[in-house]
């Protein structure tokens, strides 16, 4: 199965998502900002992109817009803990408007993360028990 691309500028936040996904049997690629994420999305051909919204260099919303324009069927999950200017729910609403299928409000439980991933990729993927 194609990997899942995780884009987040926060190393620990990225790491925990990666660990959970790997623990559940998915293959994972990481990117530490929007620019790298957009580049890896082209070269790695992921099955799913999980991206933070506010990041340096290129923001998540721009990444989502770009990915949507290049590859309309690529599923995207957006996650955010909000910003100084905006509450997280409003940011996530925007992400949906830009084209994200699912959103996760930080901090989220890993069970919710895996639920979201399965709802996007289908129930036939790897599971914790597998």
């Amino acid at each position: 199965m194609a990997p899942i691309l995780v884009i987040d500028d926060d190393r620990q936040a990225r790491g925990v998502v990666r660990s959970a996904l790997e623990r559940a049997g998915y293959e994972v690629r990481e990117a530490c900002d929007g620019s790298e994420g957009a580049r890896l999305a082209r070269t790695e051909r992921p099955a799913l992109v999980i991206t933070d919204i506010l990041m340096p260099n290129k923001e998540g919303l721009e990444v989502i817009r770009e990915l949507q324009e290049g590859h309309r069927s690529l599923p995207i999950i957006a996650m955010s803990g909000g910003s100084q200017w905006m509450p997280p729910d409003a940011l996530l609403r925007l992400a949906t408007y830009f084209g994200a299928q699912r959103t996760l409000l930080k901090p989220f439980s890993l069970a919710d993360l895996l639920d979201a991933v399965r709802s996007v990729l289908g129930p036939d993927g790897p599971t914790l028990e597998a």
Binding site: V16, S19, L61, G81, G82, M86, P87, P88, A90, L128
Partner: protein, 647 residues
């Protein structure tokens, strides 16, 4: 007999005249029977008249100022009756044709058997002294009028600090009539438990006799309430140079200090809000990692084992932290109020419906609402939270009591009775939440609305509930305050401005519109956004202000038809103005957008064309320019006809 008596008195006159030359007074002698007045040369000199051998009493009387004649007659009548020497000041016509003030003293001369044969006396020129004393009286009257009409209060105290003089301003300031205070000590006025500053002042006054200024003393109004007086004074000395007390002025600064405190508190809350909002999202990221790794670890330990239990506790703690961050965000989220028309009575009903299920049956709920309350403009969810937090707070205050009463009142009040800075039309909907709980301790009352301030035991409250209330109410242009309720318990009062009816205001200077078009104003500087919004409101538009471009995009995408035009700043965090414009046009290509930019090199006219902007304004632009740009954008045919009024 009479002749000889008069002749004798004439002799006396001459003898006395010699004796009185030194005193500079003039002498006169009047014979009743012959009706003749004889005067000394000095007398004539003082009147500036040529000496006359003798004049009639009537002629002399005709020289007296008409206004003084009645007084003269009265004095003379009294004199004849009592036989006591008389002494009066009156104006006499001088040889130059002007009246001057003289002092006339005299007495009757009695002949045999006490019969009156004439009278004699002296005349002194007191004109200069009289003018000076008149001037002094006018000056005194002037200062008395000023002192008595001042809202401040002027006082004098003696060496024992007892009042010797008070002006009427005292009545307005402390509720006492001046008479009530004379003789009482300065210290009698002081708030009993706040006497330190007054005792310090009293000590200073007694010891140093030095002037003081701007000392603040908490005093008790006659009706008991606290009045903060600002007092200045300087020492008084007798003519002999002996210290004899103090004189000064006292002003009521209670209101001023309260407003200053309110302002300080607001500034503090603003700073805390900004700080909290700034760290909250970072904290969410930290929590995401923390909770995530704990959850990961829990996957690898046996269910039901001791480590599994510990990890579960860590997760629970993390979730509490997450809820706290959500509350902090709610407190700091001042700018993202989505305003609609809110019926406060409806909100209260909903909250009470929710609360009734959770409140113990020992708490009676009383709800009162004035009929036909107007709506307020605000965010219904946030207003809901305000009512909810206040009610939950009230419930907590009554916990452990055998019974209690939660009263919720809604009323319409006007600005005059609210001492709130005026709303446009001065009307507020007032929400009062009153409990019968433990009430407010004075030391906590001032800090109630601070974030993280709580009187609850550790683990029972975060201290965010009331600060969230404060943040939301402030964002709605309202006021929240708390005080001890009559009969114990606490009373929380929220005033929210009544929704203003949109009234188009046409001004001669600025082009205006007939129809109320809706305009989304986006600027990350809240003051600028407010200012532009205010101007557009004056022009009859319906502005919605947004201090985040991402928030603006969010609002727009959820209701793309809600706005007729967008005015946006260029330089903003999150999404710059040009990018926002591009995103908005993806949704509604025909949407007119006015972009305002501070740096001309940032955005060329070419880029503006490419973005299909209705107008590109360079800062600083004046409001006339903005108004014209908006008017042209909303009615494009105007531009073709060229009939725009110039501002």
């Amino acid at each position: 007999v009479s002749q000889s008596a008069f002749a004798r008195s004439q002799d006396s006159l001459q003898r006395y005249a010699l004796a009185l030359e030194a005193t500079n007074d003039g002498l006169w002698n009047c014979d009743i029977e012959s009706d003749v007045v004889v005067c000394t040369p000095r007398y004539w000199e003082m009147l500036g008249r040529q000496p006359q051998a003798d004049i009639s009493v009537d002629e002399w009387r005709s020289w007296v100022h008409p206004d003084d004649r009645a007084r003269l007659a009265a004095v003379m009548a009294e004199h004849f009756e009592t036989n006591r020497p008389y002494d009066l000041e009156l104006r006499i016509l001088t040889g130059t044709g002007a009246y001057r003030w003289y002092r006339a003293r005299g007495r009757t001369i009695r002949g045999d058997q006490g019969r009156i044969v004439g009278h004699a006396g002296t005349l002194a020129d007191v004109h200069a002294a009289r003018e000076a004393s008149d001037a002094l009286m006018r000056s005194e009257a002037r200062f008395r009028d000023i002192a008595e009409t001042l809202s401040d209060w002027i006082w004098e105290i003696d060496v024992n600090l007892a009042f010797t003089y008070c002006t009427g301003g005292l009545l307005g300031v402390l509720g006492f009539a001046p008479d009530e205070l004379i003789g009482r000590s300065l210290l009698d006025l002081v708030m009993p438990d706040e006497a330190a500053s007054a005792l310090g002042l009293a000590d200073h006054v007694r010891r140093t006799h030095e002037a003081f200024s701007g000392i603040e003393i908490p005093c008790a109004h006659k009706q008991g309430r606290r009045v903060l007086l600002q007092v200045s004074g300087r020492p008084l000395y007798t003519a002999a140079g002996q210290y004899c007390g103090f004189r000064g002025v006292a002003s009521d600064v209670t209101q001023r200090r309260a407003l200053e405190e309110q302002l300080r508190q607001t500034q503090k809350m603003d700073a805390l809000g900004t700080l909290a909002g700034g760290i909250a999202h970072d904290f969410n990221n930290i929590l995401a990692a923390l909770l995530g790794y704990v959850e990961l670890a829990s996957w690898d330990v046996a269910a039901g084992s001791r480590p599994a239990g510990h990890l579960q506790e860590a997760l629970a703690a993390g979730e509490r932290a997450r809820d706290l961050v959500a509350q902090i965000l709610a407190f700091s989220r001042r700018d993202s109020t989505e305003a609609t028309s809110v019926d406060l009575a409806l909100v209260v009903r909903e909250v009470l419906k929710l609360l009734r299920a959770s409140l113990p049956s020992t708490i009676e709920i009383v709800q009162r609402a004035a009929a036909d309350l107007p709506a307020i403009t605000g965010n219904a969810t946030q207003i809901h939270q305000v009512v909810m937090n206040l009610c939950v707070n009230a419930e907590y205050a009554m916990r452990g009591q055998p019974s209690g009463r939660l009263e919720i009142d809604l009323a319409l009040v006007t600005g005059a009775g609210t001492d709130v800075g005026s709303s446009e039309h001065g009307r507020f909907v007032r929400l009062q939440v009153r409990d019968t709980g433990t009430g407010l301790a004075p030391e906590t009352a001032g800090r109630l609305f601070e974030p993280f301030f709580t009187t609850k035991p550790v683990g029972e409250g975060t201290g965010m509930g009331l600060s969230v209330v404060h943040g939301i109410v402030l964002a709605h242009g309202g006021v929240v305050r708390a005080r001890q309720a009559d009969g114990g318990g606490a009373l929380f009062e929220v005033l929210l401005p009544v929704a203003a009816p949109a009234v188009p205001v046409a001004t001669e200077e600025l082009p205006s519109v007939k129809r109320a078009a809706t305009i989304l104003v986006v600027d990350d500087e809240p003051q600028l956004a407010m200012m532009v919004g205010h101007v557009l409101g004056r022009l009859g538009y319906e502005p919605t202000m947004c201090t985040s471009s991402l928030d603006a995009l969010d609002r727009f995408t959820r209701a793309p038809g809600a706005f007729d035009l967008v005015v946006t700043d260029q330089t903003m965090p999150g999404l710059t103005g040009d990018r926002l414009a591009a995103e908005l046009h993806r949704v509604r290509p025909e949407l007119p957008i006015v972009l305002c930019t501070g740096f001309s090199h940032q955005l060329s006219q070419e880029r503006a064309k490419e973005l299909q902007l209705a107008a590109l304004l360079y800062k600083p632009y004046d409001m006339g320019e903005l108004a014209r740009a908006i008017r042209e954008a909303l009615t494009p045919d105007l531009k073709v006809r060229g009939s725009i009024p110039t501002p």
